[in-house]
Symmetry: C2
Subunit: 397 residues, 2 copies
């Protein structure tokens, strides 16, 4: 049984703050600094260049990938770390297109994170626009999948609304039409249960600085389905994805399986902080995290909407259709969020009018949720946005 | 006047080691841990998501880029940090090709770092092989530049031999034939004087974990010549290169100038360590570093070759033709380097037979060079490779 009171103690959380923005940047794990110190002072400082082998640095993108794999229903050896999410999106998209050379459409939706769409647009331009990006509303995705679609690329949980796509149904439809499926798990990994093996998507990508708490700009991950990983073409064919990087051959030859999705020298300091963050997940099962997240988001929705009836819930109320965040629409959402942050309830805002609250059971408990809902009620009933310079702190603990 | 005895004190160097592998991974600056601690505990820990603005995180890829610009003869505002060198090579190559749409050749040489060649090969495949990579011997580059060449891409200082290309002459020849020039400064930045502004190359890229001492997997940089930066097409069009990333628009619109070469969320922890490393360069001028490097490499060449006459110097003896490393060829180079590392003289080895010694005046002094040359003499005269299990340490200090 997961002990969320215990996991909360593993984070460094400022006093007087309820942090509901872990869906943007997770908080600092207390163990991160010690882990960084070991990596910096003992490994880099004392071992110097030898640490690539003696401290296992070269293997970390794979060993950490295995720890992420466990959280997203993927087999060991199918995930590797590196770069940023945008780069991983590019890798998955370009490799996906290469698997369907006769097809001309990348299908995505307006709920996808813009960078994913931008990377797709850049790839289309690079390919001389022989491939085009088609973007539909989230509700229209299933109906838009046809035999022209080479790749369906979606973010599983909508960054604005918190709405969650039906991964199994969409992947099945994509496959029924011969399309390749790419899932962006930015708002899923560490937040909801994901079963990549079961849905059989070809690719998945994600970042690690949101629900996984890896730190600002922490490295991204990419998953390739094991049965295709040995023949997928790596479009960003860097030396660490080479079959024998230290032979320094002049011609690229892809490494085995997921290794070929490595590109350049791995970011060892960032990976050290991420490891400390992933240690916390060793204490929980994603099934337990998900159940607790649903309890807490249900409570927050109920209490906030009771306090402020004019809030419009844009997150689906159906537990099967939402991730681990709660989004409300309000015409004064921007100013209201600023006022909430002023009183120590940190959520965030997405244009034009969405207030976002991420609920992350590893460090948010029922008391936090009640405090936050109380602050929403107070700030918004008092129309605190009329005077957002007001600085007196509420007794949020 | 640069005080290299003082800069040496700013590094954490293990006792009993002469570290001649700063051309692969620079050593730990003593201030790095404190800088990381501030970033982790005060910024990430206390400010949380707000640190993107309050701590200036979002601006760091540019502000740190400016500090690198000073070291490579580039204008402020022309360099930005991010990703890895391989990714930056891809950006420069693809953007360079887009500037010369009618041309079909990327020209490089066998002295380029393999990852640069691999990235070019991947890009050519992605483009359906309408562009091809032509690789010639380093001496044949000038003669191979013709009107078919879209992009000339070279590493300034050869990672194996330490031979340095004539940046001005090659760039001028490329431009005379209408080709775009991309310089990889991996073994130049922080090691030799570079004057990008004068040579007018369109692009330059580099890593920061070698002579710049930024730490394992530290982020890369990319330079775009200011007069073209506003119309260069960014092939990896991520959200942080967008003109208004936080408007979350569905369509990509490139940011101003060098901003468009940003891709994803910047690696803040790695950038913190890099800043501490760059502080050390505030104490020196590259002209002084270069002069001292030539003095020390001259001394090392002379002493090592006097001690072991059968060493074949593969680094050009002409000061205008070499970087800041010394490479010797020897049939037992691999075993000899292992034996040298055993006695605390850390260089490295590149197949098939090259022993590399990086000489970096910020932390290597004349006594180190004499000690290292003495160890080369002892280990190689004793044919220590016949018994590389021998572990007794010499008195290297």
């Amino acid at each position: 049984m997961a002990d969320f009171a215990a996991t909360k103690q593993l984070f460094s959380l400022p006093k007087g703050v309820v942090y509901l923005d872990g869906n943007s940047l997770g908080p600092l794990p207390k163990a991160a600094m010690a882990r960084l110190s070991t990596t910096v002072e003992e490994e880099w400082g004392r071992e110097l260049i030898r640490a690539w082998n003696s401290a296992g640095w070269m293997a970390r993108p794979r060993s950490i990938g295995d720890r992420i794999a466990r959280l997203i229903g993927a087999a060991s050896g199918s995930v590797v770390m590196g770069d940023t999410l945008s780069i991983k999106v590019f890798q998955a998209l370009a490799a996906g297109l290469a698997l369907r050379p006769g097809r001309t459409v990348i299908l995505s939706d307006t709920g996808n994170f813009p960078s994913d769409l931008y990377m797709a647009q850049g790839l289309c331009r690079l390919l001389g626009n022989r491939v085009t990006l088609k973007v539909v509303e989230p509700e229209a995705v299933l109906g838009a999948i046809d035999d022209q679609v080479a790749v369906v690329m979606l973010t599983h949980v909508d960054y604005r609304t918190g709405a969650m796509h039906d991964m199994a149904a969409i992947t099945a439809k994509a496959h029924a039409h011969g399309a390749v499926m790419v899932w962006d798990l930015a708002h899923s990994a560490g937040a909801v249960e994901v079963d990549l093996s079961a849905c059989r998507a070809e690719f998945a990508v994600g970042c690690t600085y949101k629900y996984l708490n890896g730190g600002p700009g922490a490295p991204a991950f990419i998953y390739v389905r094991p049965d295709i990983a040995d023949y997928v073409e790596p479009p960003l064919s860097g030396w660490l994805g080479h079959a024998t990087p230290f032979a320094f051959e002049l011609a690229y030859a892809p490494g085995r399986g997921i290794e070929r999705m490595r590109v350049g020298t791995p970011p060892i300091l960032a990976l050290a902080a991420l490891e400390a963050a992933l240690d916390i997940f060793d204490h929980v099962q994603m099934r337990e995290v998900r159940a607790q997240s649903l309890r807490l988001t249900d409570l927050f929705i109920k209490e906030a909407m009771t306090a402020v009836p004019e809030l419009e819930l844009v997150t689906p109320i159906d537990a099967n259709r939402r991730g681990s965040q709660v989004s409300f629409r309000h015409p004064q959402g921007y100013a209201a969020m600023r006022a909430l942050i002023d009183v120590g309830v940190i959520g965030d805002f997405r244009a034009p009018d969405i207030m976002r609250f991420g609920v992350t059971p590893l460090f948010i408990d029922e008391a936090d949720v009640r405090t936050a809902a109380g602050a929403v009620g107070l700030v918004m009933r008092e129309r605190r946005w009329d005077n957002i310079k007001y600085r007196e702190r509420l007794a949020v603990t």
